[in-house]
Point group: C2
Chain length 248, copies 2
């Protein structure tokens, strides 16, 4: 603690300015922990703590065996956008639910879907529509909570075979089957009104307030792998989140 600040925060600041000043461009790897130790004459503990700070504000992502990649130089561009440090809790939250009434369809992508998946308009995609229901601890169906409408590129179409006995999320299914990793999930949340047919399935009055989640899963290579539209209504038309200070 030379300048009234812990060493690791000092290093975190240096690295952060290194990123904004393009010495560590987006997409490149930060120096390895060992290199940081040598360059700044610090212990590995200090180097790791510094990198954790950068992870916490979403500037970098680390993968063991690979290194620490610079993900973005501007932690957040838009208003009210936030970087999570883990999608695991998000995925975890989908545990006690299950998809039912699954309908699949092969079709050419319309403009919206094509843009989201970064493909040409008209390219073949697999569409999966379903109802997500809440389960009790014992696995009994309690009530419908969401209408989901998923599009994946046709090359992942083989997941169709696994949909019957789906006990995880679609995304995990694709990750497992095709050996890819989701590194980023982009989500938009906006209000909507549920129409008659949607209301019937969700068991609410037609025209009542709902919330529309539009979500895109992107692989660590930057390829969109899944585009989801998700409508929830009634008590489920609500998003709770907790933001925490990192201690600075």
């Amino acid at each position: 603690m030379r300048r009234g600040q812990p060493l690791y925060l000092d290093l975190a600041d240096r690295l952060a300015s290194g990123i904004t000043e393009k010495r560590y461009p987006v997409g490149s790897l930060l120096p390895t922990e060992a290199e940081l130790c040598a360059q700044f004459e610090i212990s590995r503990f200090t180097a790791r703590e510094a990198v954790k700070q950068l992870q916490a504000i979403g500037l970098v992502a680390t993968r063991r065996g690979i290194g620490t990649e610079v993900v973005t130089a501007k932690p957040n561009a838009g208003r009210f956008s936030c970087a999570f440090d883990s999608v695991s809790e998000f995925i975890h939250s989908a545990r006690l639910t299950r998809l039912t009434k699954i309908v699949t369809e092969d079709l050419p992508a319309d403009k919206v879907v094509a843009d989201a998946l970064k493909r040409e308009k008209g390219c073949p995609v697999l569409r999966i529509q379903a109802t997500r229901i809440l389960l009790s601890e014992k696995g009994r169906a309690l009530r419908p909570i969401a209408l989901v409408d998923v599009h994946v590129p046709a090359e992942y179409g083989a997941i169709r075979e696994d949909l019957k006995h789906l006990d995880t999320t679609l995304n995990l299914l694709i990750e497992k089957r095709y050996g890819i990793r989701t590194s980023q999930v982009e989500q938009t949340v906006e209000p909507c009104l549920v129409d008659g047919s949607q209301a019937k399935v969700l068991n609410v009055k037609p025209g009542s307030l709902g919330i529309l989640f539009t979500r895109r899963y992107v692989s660590d290579r930057g390829n969109p792998i899944e585009y989801v539209r998700n409508i929830q209504a009634g008590d489920d038309a609500r998003l709770n989140m907790t933001m925490r200070s990192t201690g600075r």
Copy 2:
């Protein structure tokens, strides 16, 4: 890593169930790091990592010289709850805006406000109503983006004097003036319809779709310091967020 899980996660699970099962009641202190080391025959590193996990999901708060206090036994009630690890980007996002048409009022807390602030119903609070407007780079007012309705305990009432020349957030104002730190922000997002008077201020049609943010700021000692209701409509009735994997 005995059972496929790192030791510190294992300990974190034990402590978490200890909290939910009231062996460590809310308000009490967890065993000190030294005690955890002794009881579970682990190193201090492992004990600290475990406690960090609990901090990350908001179950506990630590203060040096004191110990680790149990803050709540239920980190997140609702589904689709997500723990951010930094509120700074959220605060940052409010930079190019300003509050206008600020109206203050002293009044007794109703039930909702009292519950949110963890006070008795009828306790004195300061209410601040205002319109948040978007500013251009040069500081010119562009358009209204939100109606804000803030309640703070009367003991922070002196911030009223600073509202005239407010160039930060209300929360930072309180932090600075009273020397407290916000460690956690809990937010609920839900759809709503804007009524006539709201629509007029927000410059949208009456009855159009809006989004209601309900937010509570909690200090590092677990005291609620601010309760905010925030309505946005039109193009602002949208929440964008990006979740990234850290590589775990």
